[in-house]
């Protein structure tokens, strides 16, 4: 008697959930069930804390990627921004530490500034190319990612830059502030700032508007070109921050850091309901989306799935998420 209306209600609720946030809750539920069946260690508090700590880097990059996706483009060069930041900051930090061995923290700041400046340039080139020269985001960021990867290898000759000040790694790689690992602390701040930007400032509203309908945004007195450019620059800067944290973690500057970040961050965003058409996406769910990707990788590790097969699964997951995104968009446009 009561089952029929209940199941109708349930499907209605699921449908609303899908329309509002996309495919993530369903994927998350499936992953939790599957991996806890495959490995007893998966659903332990210890492991989940571990996942949270590992996911910091992808969360950060995904936040930047989200900005660009919401503006209606995408950024394939986030991995390059990470690698360049790593190499440039490591080179300048070791150089500065050698010149003034007594002022280690000054050397660290110089290194961070140099890395950040490099990423600013990467974002600026992407943004100017996409916004002002109207190059498609795909080609622009693909080209920049090749240029950046080449420069990073050229600067280091392909050899990791070692000899970083110990204080750098100790603080940003393994340190704790107020009992919280520093990377987690920094990521938390970034999440809050990004949430404020996207939901509380005109810039956020403008990015949503430009991605939703750029012509309508133009006629609503929005500087569409500047908005596009700013989103690429911010994306690159956040990637750069990730690059610094990763460099501190591995305690060397490496040109191959962040190689899979572009794909993983786009996957995290799309699974979290960010539309590839632009205009749609939320900070909160993107954080969850990145967490989900890292959790799946962790679960696959525990289930002893080889890293090669993991690549296969991740690619498949991305495509599946895009298919669901298309369905969701059609449902929004059709109304039923």
């Amino acid at each position: 008697m009561t089952t029929a209306p209940t199941s109708a209600d349930t499907s209605g609720v699921l449908r609303k959930l899908f329309l509002r946030v996309g495919v993530l809750p369903f994927f998350l539920a499936i992953a939790l069930v599957v991996f806890s069946l495959m490995s007893a260690k998966f659903l332990t508090g210890q492991n989940l804390v571990n996942v949270a700590r590992q996911s910091v880097y992808l969360v950060l990059v995904s936040l930047g990627q989200m900005l660009v996706l919401v503006s209606g483009g995408f950024d394939l060069s986030v991995g390059t921004a990470i690698a360049l930041t790593s190499v440039v900051s490591a080179v300048s930090m070791t150089w500065a530490a050698g010149v003034m061995p007594d002022a280690i923290w000054l050397a660290i700041v110089i290194g961070i500034a140099a890395g950040g400046f490099t990423a600013l340039m990467v974002g600026l080139v992407n943004g100017v190319g996409v916004a002002y020269f109207e190059v498609s985001p795909f080609i622009m960021t693909l080209g920049v990612s090749s240029v950046g990867a080449g420069l990073a290898l050229f600067l280091t000759g392909g050899v990791p830059v070692s000899g970083l000040p110990f204080a750098f790694g100790d603080t940003f790689g393994f340190g704790k502030w107020f009992g919280v690992p520093v990377p987690v602390f920094i990521a938390a701040i970034c999440i809050v700032v990004m949430w404020l930007v996207m939901s509380r400032t005109p810039l956020g509203t403008q990015i949503y508007a430009v991605g939703g309908n750029i012509k309508a945004a133009h006629l609503s007195a929005i500087n569409t070109k500047r908005t596009l450019m700013v989103s690429y620059i911010l994306c690159s800067l956040i990637a750069s921050l990730t690059g610094l944290l990763l460099t501190a973690r591995v305690e060397s500057g490496e040109a191959n850091l962040g190689g899979s970040m572009a794909l993983e961050s786009i996957a995290a965003c799309v699974i979290a309901g960010v539309s590839l058409r632009g205009g749609i996406g939320k900070v909160q769910t993107v954080v969850l989306g990145a967490f989900f990707i890292v959790m799946v990788q962790n679960g696959m590790n525990l289930a002893q799935i080889s890293s090669y097969m993991q690549m296969v699964l991740l690619g498949g997951l991305l495509i599946l998420a895009v298919i669901f995104d298309q369905m969701r968009y059609r449902m929004i446009m059709r109304g039923r």
Partner: protein, 498 residues
């Protein structure tokens, strides 16, 4: 027995009945004109005859047999060819390749290009069109592209030919060629359905005229029994006073002055606009009236001229800066450049509240204030409560247009330019939107209403500017602006001097 007829043909779109139980018939060897305002249902009717859309109810008969034209290809296979107003040419292919697209003459597995060119040339010779089959479509003028569209319809076994405003972009000489061709086809027994706004063409080629209004058939008259005045009355014949409000005018200072502004397709033109007045801008689709104002808004490049807003030169400013200085432009295309369809009405209205800067403090948006202002605006444009949290894509055209109007109220401008403010909107909503225009003008705003809908342009305005062929051909005071006088200025026989 008529060649082609419809019985009770009806088309429903979500929330609107575009065509209501229309009986229409076409005899062999006849030119039958469809006449009516924009949105009267002409395009809906022919798109069903062409097989581009399927009727919700009703039947189409060809030679007395009920037909099911579910695709354009099927209609064509029965000899019913349609030349749509919107071009379906592929710009990167040649003229001949376009004409035979999907039915290329073959030599084995390969396309027989020689045969294709020869047949294309044959068709051009018959039509008297001076076109080269090997020309690339991008290299052709708009008129030439139109000719290719027409030529494209003319192969195969032609029974019924449907022409949707075929002369809109043709020169007089090209029109003569087209009419000669129509007469030749008539003599062969082809039935021709012809849509046009140009009434002086009817006398030259029409046998009968069917008038549509608001999706319903008003009547069919023989051309010999009617005249232009009668047709206009049939087309617009409604209690005009009930729809169009009387807008009080107390013209204030000049707020906007345009001096000698020109843009590709529009000769240097000037106008001045006072606070509290409504300036109507009338003209056919493509006469340059919209292009002129879009150039003024900085949406397209202008070649010469100056624009002065409240004493300040805004000629070379960006669109964004022009809007911030107090000029609001309402786009004629709400889907392409007006609204974000995948967002709610709330979000769409909120955008302009946010960009106006009135709801943020030190760079932070106060969403409570935005929500209040959005609710105010939604009330003001009478957007029903149920629709406010819905995605705009799910609203009817009328309600979408209300949201678009609401965006204009999010910013406090001095001059409002409404480009086709009621396109594709039902009568009830139109009347409501006209009241919004009235309230703006009576609050001392300067308003421009650009409209291809003549009664709208005439009845809302205190002063009327008429555009034809990229020129201002008349400026009429309210008292002098009757449909007859205005229509005369639509068809001023002048070659564009561009």
């Amino acid at each position: 027995m008529p060649l082609l007829s419809t019985h009770g043909l009806t088309k429903d779109y979500p929330g609107v009945r575009a065509l209501n139980a229309v009986d229409f018939d076409l005899n062999a060897g006849e030119v039958h004109v469809l006449f009516g305002e924009n949105g009267a249902g002409k395009s809906t009717l022919i798109s069903m005859l062409a097989g581009a859309t399927s009727p919700s109810e009703g039947t189409i008969y060809l030679d007395g047999h009920a037909m099911n034209f579910d695709t354009v290809a099927r209609a064509k296979s029965h000899g019913v060819y349609t030349v749509f107003q919107e071009f379906s040419l592929i710009p990167t292919l040649t003229v001949a390749e376009n004409m035979f697209l999907g039915q290329e003459p073959r030599a084995g597995f390969l396309i027989d290009h020689g045969e294709m060119r020869r047949r294309a040339q044959e068709i051009f010779d018959t039509l008297g069109f001076a076109l080269s089959p090997t020309a690339q479509v991008t290299s052709l003028s708009r008129a030439q592209q139109q000719m290719v569209e027409i030529a494209k319809a003319f192969h195969g076994d032609l029974k019924v030919l449907i022409l949707d405003e075929p002369t809109a972009s043709l020169t007089d000489r090209e029109v003569d060629h087209l009419f000669a061709f129509i007469k030749q086809q008539k003599a062969k027994g082809v039935g021709i359905v012809y849509i046009s706004h140009r009434m002086q063409e009817f006398a030259r080629i029409a046998d009968r005229v069917t008038v549509l209004r608001d999706g319903a058939k008003i009547g069919t008259v023989a051309m010999t029994d009617t005249d232009e005045a009668h047709l206009v009355e049939m087309m617009t014949g409604r209690a005009i006073a009930e729809i169009y409000p009387v807008i009080a005018t107390t013209p204030g200072a000049v707020v906007l002055e345009i001096k000698g502004l020109s843009t590709p397709g529009v000769a240097p033109s000037s106008l001045s606009l006072r606070a509290g007045e409504v300036l109507g801008v009338a003209g056919l689709v493509g006469c340059g009236k919209s292009r002129f104002f879009r150039a003024m808004m900085g949406l397209t490049a202008h070649q010469t001229g100056t624009v002065i807003l409240k004493g300040q030169d805004i000629t070379h400013l960006s669109t964004r800066e022009i809007i911030r200085r107090g000029l609001y432009y309402l786009s004629p295309d709400r889907k392409a450049e007006g609204l974000d369809l995948a967002k709610t009405s709330h979000d769409n209205l909120g955008l302009n509240v946010v960009t106006s800067g009135t709801a943020s403090k030190r760079g932070w948006i106060n969403w409570r204030v935005v929500r209040e202002r959005v609710a105010e605006i939604a009330d003001r444009v009478e957007l029903p409560h149920d629709y406010r949290a819905k995605y705009v894509s799910q609203l009817s055209g009328g309600n979408q247009q209300k949201v678009l109007f609401g965006k204009a109220f999010g910013q406090d401008a001095d001059v409002y330019i409404f480009d086709e403010p009621t396109v594709g909107v039902d009568m009830g909503t139109r009347a409501a939107l006209y009241l919004k225009i009235k309230s703006l003008a009576e609050a001392g705003k300067a308003v421009v209403v650009i409209s291809s809908d003549l009664p709208e342009a005439i009845n809302l305005s205190h002063r009327l500017l008429v555009f034809a062929h990229g020129h201002v051909t008349a400026e009429l005071a309210r008292a002098d602006a009757t449909e007859d006088t205005v229509l005369k200025h639509f068809f001023v026989e002048s070659e564009p001097t561009l």
